[in-house]
């Protein structure tokens, strides 16, 4: 039995301890905002926050989540999350939208750590998140926009 916090709710899982966090979140908790894209931590579509850091949930066994605080796109909040969502909407970032939960989770984490990131900071924090629609141009603009809005 693994016990952890998911978006503030105490959650338990008593299945196969090898089950990746991704599939626990999706199949058992039915929070489907976190996506499957590759299963090998190459694309970042499954990005969640685990104890305040980005984590690829597709390669994180649930056994490693014991006692952890997990936040998904459905539960992420705070000024960075608000600024990122507002910027994503203002700039119309998403195309197909499938990777965007992971993009947003990475962007929120970036701004939590670096409130005013440079282009290089953005490259460093976001290069693990693939977008096959290649919305990168707008992702970059939206992160700068979000950072600017937090200053004001």
């Amino acid at each position: 039995m693994v016990t952890f916090t998911l978006n503030g709710q105490t959650t338990t899982f008593d299945g196969d301890p090898d089950t990746p966090l991704l599939w626990v979140i999706r199949d058992f908790e039915k929070l489907t905002g976190t996506k499957y894209g590759c299963g090998v931590a190459q694309c970042g579509a499954c990005t969640v926050h685990m104890d305040g850091f980005t984590r690829r949930s597709c390669i994180t066994p649930i056994s490693a989540a014991e006692g952890s605080d997990i936040v998904t796109v459905e539960g992420v909040e705070g000024k960075e999350a608000e600024a990122v969502r507002a910027a994503w909407i203002a700039i119309d970032v998403p195309q197909c939208g499938y990777c965007q939960s992971g993009q947003i989770m990475s962007a929120v984490s970036l701004l939590q750590n670096i409130p005013k990131p440079t282009d290089e900071d953005i490259d460093g924090a976001m290069a693990g998140n693939i977008c096959r629609c290649a919305t990168y141009h707008r992702i970059r603009a939206a992160i700068h926009n979000a950072a600017a809005s937090m200053e004001g």
Binding site: T19, D27, T32, D92, C96, N129, R132, H137
Partner: protein
């Protein structure tokens, strides 16, 4: 709930409980709800049929039923814009959902059946959806005239408000919608003069953005009904291989694995959850029969392609006297062969489908269908139901780039076979993993282009001889226009032109890939041409302008892209620029790129200036997004991507580590200009892709002296 079809030969209407509905066909209420609310579909017994095409709710919302799938390219927004324009709606009240599957009512007017592809969504819907909006407007006006006892001719509509100036009466659409549903729709409605458009041409925000920023957008993979069975299929490592035997003893020991079954497509593992299915498949042992498999490597295929050049081939273009022209004196002649690899589409959401049996024995299928009618009919045939008993509920889908548009629906064939092999008592989700996706075939085919060109002392190309070897995407034995499009109708005025097509047969299933033939013809034509102009010492923009045909729209985008880039200005040290112009699907795109050599010797594309002429611009916001995305998608493929067959024909790549996607640190800055035009609108989903590859290769050749003769530019493992 009553269904009242007034006419089947023209737009009919139906009075629903919630307001005015224009349209003709049946949609399960629960599916419409799922799409509208972003919520997951509920139990199957709640399915209630109603009709929709444009729906006006009593809450003032206007919901447009998109006959085209929303996969990121923007039809929800585009089609809603067409309706809203003629309806004089307020953009805030617009909504969009997928229409049900119906090959007649929801036909793509360019195809004759329901389908999304070829960048046709806006082009084929331009009048149809405007008429739908204008019809609703007329019915709302008629309802208001009746309600207020005033002449309809005195009523105006503006930003979602119906007004009568004389009496001072006014109303939103919602309060009039129930009455409007009883009004006779006009037989013929007058559409606006484009000069008076107020919404078309505006940068309206996309309708599907908010749900894609909070995790609420529901894709097929996100449908998780209770008691769901998840299935994955073990596929072979070779195209054309079949199951000889398998050992599932370890698989069946995995907790949660429910069953294992041999199917024509491979061996299916069924489990109570996704991880159990994946784990079960990972320990499955399958022995494959390779007797009908493709066992040649990519290198052997390239050799066989070169041999095919000696075949007679099929003439795709023949103008002037090519042989004689090459014999003239004073010409510079260039020859080249360019090899293009197989390309996987790699949409973010791999192929998937969900099957839920209803209490009455009918079936709900959920998937990201580009050909929903075909997918429904395929599912119906496989499961043994009449197509009328199968509801194909199109879901928003995580990209496609052509992958989910398959004639004959081979993916649905597999998914439905997986479902049909169960006792059908449980909902079934069939999903492909990324490995299934990269290794699953239906690739942009491998091609070989053999080029020969001659340029005279004036720097004009006077002879052009091009042979193209590759699979026919349409499976044709004669000329397949998708193999030669963009080359056979060369946009340059070359007096002696020959293009020959050579079809080859492989066991690797081919498919169209975002921009189809232009993925390779655009590259071959625009790089070879550029090299010829360079041989003659000509400026690549000037030389193109001098030899482009009379169609001024080519020159328009080329000049605009050059202007944006300040072509001719000094380029920073260590950088070079390249240019290309390609028309595809009726849309003209010119691009200038600026390239340097990265630290690892890989081309680094810093900036792309793009000019697009797609006729009347419905939504510049969407058009720019498609150019930006098309540039990233095309550039990633040209730089990094190939699916290769190793020794014995086994597939070499498996996931994003060896089938690279472009990443944010590799994405150039993109600047887009849209040419103002009064021409009919054409599509934008694909045309941003073709020019970026040749423009990059042209800049790279000018920077390094090395022409790109095989793709991708960055070498990949081939053995």
């Amino acid at each position: 709930m009553t269904i009242q079809a007034i006419s089947t030969t023209r737009r009919a209407f139906l009075a629903g409980s919630g307001g005015l509905v224009i349209g003709f066909t049946l949609v399960p209420k629960i599916a419409a709800f799922a799409a509208e609310s972003g919520e997951q579909a509920g139990g199957p017994d709640e399915l209630i049929a109603l009709n929709t095409f444009v729906k006006v709710g009593t809450d003032n919302t206007v919901t447009v039923l998109s006959k085209h799938i929303e996969m990121g390219q923007g039809p929800f927004t585009g089609l809603a814009t067409l309706v809203a324009e003629e309806l004089d709606a307020d953009w805030e009240q617009m909504r969009a959902v997928h229409s049900p599957a119906d090959d007649k009512i929801y036909a793509n007017l360019a195809f004759g059946l329901q389908g999304t592809g070829g960048s046709t969504s806006i082009a084929n819907s331009y009048e149809q959806f405007r008429k739908a909006g204008a019809t609703v407007r007329a019915m709302l006006v008629a309802a208001a005239a009746d309600e207020w006892s005033v002449p309809a001719s005195e009523i105006t509509v503006e930003k979602g408000r119906v007004k009568h100036a004389g009496s001072g009466r006014e109303s939103g659409f919602g309060a009039l919608s129930t009455k409007a549903a009883t009004m006779k729709p006009p037989v013929d409605v007058k559409l606006k003069d484009p000069a008076t458009f107020t919404l078309i041409g505006q940068e309206l925000p996309k309708l599907d953005t908010v749900s894609k920023t909070n995790g609420k957008a529901i894709f097929t993979l996100d449908i998780v009904p209770d008691n769901l069975l998840v299935a994955v299929v073990a596929h072979p490592d070779h195209f054309g291989a079949a199951v000889k035997s398998f050992d599932d003893s370890e698989t069946r020991k995995v907790k949660g694995v429910v069953d294992v079954k041999q199917l024509p497509q491979g061996v299916a593992v069924y489990a109570d959850n996704t991880f159990a299915a994946l784990k079960g498949r990972s320990v499955l042992k399958v022995d494959w029969d390779l007797s009908n498999a493709e066992t040649r490597s990519s290198e052997q295929l390239a050799t066989d392609y070169a041999k095919a050049l000696t075949d007679k081939g099929i003439i795709a273009a023949d103008k002037g006297d090519v042989e004689k022209a090459f014999g003239e004196n004073g010409l510079k002649i260039l020859e080249a062969q360019i090899v293009f690899p197989f390309l996987a589409h790699a949409p973010m959401e791999p192929l998937d489908a969900v099957f839920i049996k209803a209490a009455d024995g009918s079936l709900d299928v959920y998937n990201g269908a580009q050909f929903p009618g075909m997918d429904r009919n395929t599912a119906a045939k496989v499961v043994g139901l009449d197509p009328s008993k199968v509801r194909l509920n199109t879901q928003i889908t995580g990209g496609s780039f052509g992958r989910k548009a398959q004639f004959g629906s081979p993916y649905m064939q597999e998914a439905a076979t997986v479902y049909a092999a169960t006792d059908r008592s449980r909902p079934v989700k069939h999903m492909w993993t990324r490995e299934d996706d990269i290794r699953g075939g239906y690739y942009r085919p491998m091609y070989l282009h053999k080029m020969r060109g001659a340029i005279n002392a004036d720097g004009r190309i006077v002879a052009w001889d091009q042979a193209i070897v590759g699979q026919s995407i349409l499976g044709k034995a004669d000329l397949d226009s998708t193999s030669v499009e963009g080359a056979s109708e060369l946009p340059y005025d070359v007096p002696n032109l020959r293009v020959v097509s050579h079809n080859v047969k492989l066991a690797v299933p081919p498919l169209w890939w975002r921009s189809v033939g232009h993925t390779h013809t655009g590259f071959a034509v625009e790089t070879f041409l550029d090299e010829l102009f360079q041989m003659a010492g000509k400026d690549p923009v000037e030389a193109r302008l001098q030899q482009l045909t009379e169609d001024p729209r080519y020159a328009g985008v080329l000049k605009k892209a050059a202007e944006l880039a300040d072509w001719g200005a000094k380029v920073p040290e260590g950088r070079q620029r390249g240019v290309a112009v390609v028309k595809s699907f009726g849309t003209y795109v010119g691009q200038v790129v600026e390239v340097s050599a990265g630290a690892d010797g890989v081309p680094r594309v810093h900036k792309v200036w793009c000019a697009v002429d797609c006729g009347i611009a419905i939504n510049p916001n969407v058009i720019k997004a498609q150019m930006e995305g098309g540039i990233g998608y095309g550039l990633g493929a040209v730089l990094f991507d190939a699916v290769t067959l190793g020794k014995g024909g086994s597939i070499m790549q498996s996931n994003f580590h060896d089938y690279r996607s472009i990443r944010i640190n590799e994405m150039p800055h993109v600047e887009v200009a849209i040419i103002k035009s009064g021409e009919r609108p054409t599509g934008v989903g694909e045309p941003g892709v073709p020019p970026v590859g040749p423009a990059t290769a042209n800049a790279w050749r000018r920077l390094t002296g090395s022409p790109v003769r095989s793709l991708p530019i960055v070498a990949v493992a081939t053995s």
